[in-house]
């Protein structure tokens, strides 16, 4: 009866069909090794390091619904990072989700309406249920740890300062404090790492930990390191706590994975668990990949000859830049190739055409060298070599944050990786934007809103096609993926050219392209005239 074909019905099914026996405590099963004392734990603190499993009785219904509630929050965290939301934005979104699904109130907020113990128990139990569901594979463990750590961070930061301190005291970290003598001896170095503490230096406390426990601080050079030991100021303790949370959780998950086979005997829980982990996988990827797999156009087959005109008319600036570089130097370095190749793949350029395109573009080398050094690489991107993975095209999030361009590289996002002068000259060169228009983009970029700059560029270059300011890619959507940019640009263009008619892209079409540029030029004049008093 539990091997139901519709896992979504499970919650009700379990609730209605549960006899008193199946409704019984899952306690001993959750942690077989735990000596079950049926004592209700008293939750002293809002935050929880989840070092001891829950020991109270849990009904099957609670077991599943609580876990699903937590899962919704974790899924939102994952999709936030997939959508390149900034941490501040993520925090806002997650806080509202938390209020809805998994409220957790401070001690001071206790009242009749808010049942602290119940909230905390739900948090506690749901965490451990999801541990069971997500300990099964390396991939799931990694994602779970990442999402849970973010969740903990958000809660940690919103926690009441006093409560947080008393919570930390209970954790017994073996952090070694820096003695007064040491502190004064290295005063100059310590202050130069974090100038903000200069005035309060006397009262500041430092901890000594091995540098690998604060890799994030080390990576940004935000800490003093000597002989492999990092001296972490008190105010950076959240880094330490998070690192500790993360390492304990990943260690515990592996232990849970080893103990999991003993759960096989319980046929009430396993289906619930596997359904949960499936939901996590599917829920998020659906949302994310469904967007990504919309083909640019169902009918037209793109050929190598069309790439040039298509890119110059419809591609976002990052790809336009790579294309221009390729035309100029007849070569692209590894990451630039990777970024461009995957973009073209998702555009719908078939592998045969892709090889023709790349071969032609790399005109400075022999066939032999091309076949030896680049052919494999391009086919690899199409999932035809090596691990045969179908790599998705890079999203803006990945372009902005991963594989940062080195001194000789051309890949990346022009809005982020160009100097303002170069960006501005590229904007006038490729898109002939007026100074007014550019300054709008440049000021967004200056504040670090690269996608805003890119979206604005879309609006400006498509204004003749009826795109207005603030409309973005449509309905105010901002650019989050180069291929989305391209698709919207192309479909807008075709809409205007005539409903459903496939536009011819060779020959006379390039003239149309020129006309369009001209029109844009006229439009600029208009804008400039309007801005006069």
């Amino acid at each position: 009866m539990f091997r139901t074909a519709h896992p979504t019905d499970r919650v009700n099914g379990a609730a209605s069909s549960s006899s008193s026996s199946s409704n019984h405590a899952a306690t001993t099963t959750i942690h077989p090794t735990f000596n079950s004392k049926l004592v209700k734990p008293k939750y002293q603190h809002r935050l929880n390091f989840y070092s001891t499993p829950p020991t109270s009785e849990v009904t099957i219904e609670e077991f599943e619904t609580w876990a699903i509630d937590r899962l919704k929050v974790l899924a939102e965290i994952e999709s936030s990072s997939a959508r390149n939301r900034s941490y501040a934005e993520t925090k806002e979104v997650i806080n509202s989700q938390l209020k809805r699904y998994l409220p957790l109130s401070a001690n001071t907020a206790a009242s009749k309406a808010i049942h602290l113990d119940l909230e905390r128990r739900k948090d506690h139990v749901s965490h451990f249920v999801l541990r069971l569901a997500f300990c099964r594979s390396e991939e799931l463990r990694r994602r779970f740890v990442k999402a849970e750590t973010t969740l903990f961070r958000i809660r940690f930061e919103t926690d009441d300062t006093l409560e947080r301190e008393s919570f930390l005291k209970t954790l017994n970290f073996d952090w070694q404090a820096v003695t007064l003598e040491e502190k004064n001896f290295y005063r100059e170095q310590l202050v130069s790492v974090s100038p903000r503490i200069a005035s309060t230096f006397e009262s500041e406390t430092f901890f000594k930990v091995h540098w690998t426990r604060v890799t994030d601080l080390v990576e940004r050079r935000r800490v003093f390191v000597r002989g492999g030991v990092a001296w972490v100021p008190m105010k950076e303790q959240s880094s330490l706590v998070l690192a500790e949370f993360q390492s304990r959780l990943s260690r515990d998950l592996e232990l849970t994975a080893k103990a999991l086979p003993r759960l096989d005997e319980d046929d009430r829980l396993l289906p619930v668990l596997s359904h949960l982990s499936m939901g996590f996988m599917a829920g998020i990827s659906n949302d994310y990949y469904a967007n990504a797999s919309i083909a640019a156009d169902g009918e037209t087959v793109i050929t190598a000859d069309m790439v040039d005109s298509l890119i110059k008319r419809h591609a976002p600036m990052c790809m336009r830049n790579l294309h221009e570089q390729l035309e100029e130097k007849h070569h692209l370095r590894h990451y630039a190739r990777l970024q461009y190749n995957l973009f073209l793949k998702e555009l719908g350029l078939p592998i045969e055409e892709a090889l023709i395109f790349w071969r032609r573009s790399f005109s400075g080398i022999t066939d032999d060298k091309f076949n030896k050094e680049y052919r494999y690489n391009i086919r690899h991107g199409y999932g035809l070599e090596g691990r045969r993975l179908n790599y998705p095209a890079k999203s803006c999030a990945r372009i902005l944050t991963q594989d940062q361009p080195g001194p000789q590289d051309n890949h990346g996002c022009p809005f982020r990786h160009f100097s303002p002068q170069n960006l501005s000259s590229a904007l006038s060169r490729h898109y002939s934007l007026s100074v007014n228009e550019q300054s709008e983009i440049l000021s967004a970029v200056k504040q670090g809103h690269y996608h805003v700059g890119c979206t604005r560029l879309f609006e400006l270059t498509h204004s003749k096609l009826g795109v207005k300011k603030g409309e973005g890619l449509g309905n105010g959507e901002s650019v989050s993926h180069p291929n989305r940019y391209f698709e919207r640009s192309w479909s807008k263009f075709r809409q205007v050219q005539g409903e459903g008619e496939v536009v011819r892209l060779e020959g006379e079409d390039s003239n149309q392209g020129e006309e369009k540029v001209k029109e844009d030029g006229d439009h600029q004049v208009d804008v400039e005239m309007l801005s006069l008093p």
Binding site: R196, W211, V218, S419
Partner: protein, 524 residues
């Protein structure tokens, strides 16, 4: 010497080959004599027969083994047996996931395949050669030296003497200062002790950190070290690539700008307290490379100056523009112009605006530019020390970080051809192998090679200078059975000895570690 042997197709012809092709056979000799000596050297060095000779007689497999094994050579540990080796054959075929049980087996395979070069990868959780028999999840990299790669190509935008594949003594100065700064950071900041610096054979240098702690680092910790050491960022479209105000710990608002101690140590203070970067900036960037002489280059310099000081920058521009082509101001003069402009701006602005900016410029021109991808991942493969660089014929020799500045890659690095010549002439002088053809020496196994080496070494007398070094049993054994190894007869000797000292230090620490552990378990 087998100069005329057919070359494998994949190897690029030496630069002067086209001259050769224009002449007929009868003129061959003339054309040949006009060939650049270095091209001959490269050809002879990377010739398959020379390579084989080099592998059989000179490459110090025993020491290589000890270094990777981190333990005595008669006790192969997982650090060696589970280690990946990758071979690039003469025809460019690439063989990955090889592993060997000991030094002899490695040597036999190298001699059999006669690869153009080989690379060293991580220690896996299972033997790489058996990877198909274990579960996919059970085969992952677990342990490997922390490695760094500095390549001269990353300096193309700052060096003026060479570009691309070229390297000369002058641009080596950039490498020398990079080694100094990195070596200091790794030792002082992270507390690593066993750093091996290896010339990469053409235009760069590698660093291998063998400390146990370094080998056990996960990818994210490696990435963190790279972040710590990476100061120069941004693409080729970015002019200002160093911004310590945002990464060094915030010079925002009321707080005075402060440079992170590790960067401060590299730059140093004023006058006699100057650090390695400041010295290199004056000696190399300003004096030797003259980096701001041409218009393109000084335009870059002007863009790097504080953007708020438009007036002063404008004055500099007119001054430099107006100078006639023959009386163009040198980089040193231009830099002192900049310094003067800074002074003139008054004490406050000179300190809070100009100084940080000028320090950023020094960093941008001299701070080590590491190839970060090499260091970030546990499973990156890197060319082994003592391998030959196919394009130059030079041996990738270990270098003493203290003396990197004195090393001249053009003349101080032995080539294979040179080493074989030295070996021949040693034998001619000391009897033994004297008039005999070298084919006599083609013993396949190490022991046979040693045997003939002993025969050859009879005239030379045993050289026992290493005997005081009692930490390395393996060496004691080999030097007892054969008084003189072939590498000792050539200019490879100082490099192998340096490597041996490095290995002994690692082995010593492994032993201490084991002793401490044994003691601990007994106490229990």
């Amino acid at each position: 010497m087998p100069v005329a042997s057919p070359l494998p197709a994949a190897r690029p012809p030496p630069p002067e080959m086209d001259v050769d092709l224009d002449f007929d056979d009868e003129q061959d000799r003339d054309a040949f004599s006009s060939l650049d000596e270095r091209a001959i050297e490269v050809r002879e060095s990377s010739d398959p027969m020379s390579m084989l000779q080099y592998y059989r007689r000179l490459l110090p497999f025993k020491q290589l083994f000890t270094w990777l094994n981190q333990d005595l050579s008669h006790q192969p540990s997982r650090n060696f047996t589970h280690r990946e080796f990758a071979f690039t054959l003469q025809n460019e075929a690439y063989l990955r996931y090889n592993s060997f049980s000991d030094a002899d087996q490695l040597k036999r395979e190298v001699c059999r395949l006669n690869p153009a070069r080989f690379e060293i990868g991580p220690v896996y959780s299972a033997k790489p050669k058996d990877r198909k028999t274990v579960q996919k999840s059970g085969f992952r990299p677990t342990f490997r030296e922390l490695v760094f790669d500095i390549d001269m190509t990353d300096y193309d935008e700052v060096r003026t003497c060479c570009s691309g594949k070229g390297i000369c003594r002058r641009c080596w100065a950039f490498i020398a200062v990079a080694v100094r700064v990195l070596d200091q950071a790794l030792r002082e900041d992270f507390g690593f002790k066993h750093l091996l610096w290896v010339y990469s054979g053409r235009r760069g240098i590698h660093c291998w950190v063998s400390d146990r702690e370094a080998c056990e680092l996960a990818d994210d910790a490696r990435k963190a070290i790279v972040g710590w050491l990476e100061v120069i960022k941004g693409s080729s479209n970015q002019v200002k690539k160093v911004d310590t105000s945002s990464t060094g710990g915030g010079g925002m608002g009321n707080h005075p700008r402060s440079l992170h101690p590790s960067l401060r140590r590299a730059i140093g203070g004023d006058g006699p307290a100057s650090g390695p970067l400041k010295l290199a900036f004056v000696d190399t960037v300003l004096k030797d490379q003259d980096c701001f002489r041409s218009r393109r280059h000084w335009e870059t310099l002007l863009q790097l100056l504080p953007s708020t000081e438009t007036e002063a920058v404008g004055r500099l521009r007119t001054k430099w523009e107006s100078s006639s082509p023959h009386s163009e101001r040198s980089s040193l003069e231009k830099w002192s112009d900049v310094m003067e402009a800074a002074h003139r701006s008054g004490e406050h602005r000179s300190k809070s605006i100009w100084r940080p900016c000028l320090e950023d410029i020094i960093l941008q021109y001299t701070y080590p530019r590491i190839d970060s991808e090499v260091s970030k991942h546990l499973n990156h493969l890197l060319k082994s020390p003592f391998v030959v660089h196919p394009a130059t014929g030079r041996v990738c020799v270990p270098l003493d970080p203290e003396k990197v500045a004195d090393f001249d890659p053009e003349s101080d690095c032995p080539t294979v051809a040179q080493l074989l010549r030295e070996l021949n002439s040693w034998e001619a002088k000391n009897g033994g192998g004297g008039g005999k053809p070298t084919s006599n020496m083609r013993a396949t196994t190490a022991s046979r090679a040693n045997h003939s080496a002993r025969k050859a070494g009879q005239g030379g007398g045993a050289d026992n200078e290493d005997d005081d070094d009692d930490d390395d049993d393996s060496k004691g054994r080999t030097s007892a059975s054969s008084p003189r190894q072939d590498w000792e007869k050539t200019s490879l000797k100082p490099f192998v000895e340096l490597f041996q000292r490095h290995c002994s230090a690692i082995v010593k620490e492994t032993r201490q570690h084991r002793k401490a552990q044994e003691k601990f378990s007994i106490d229990f």
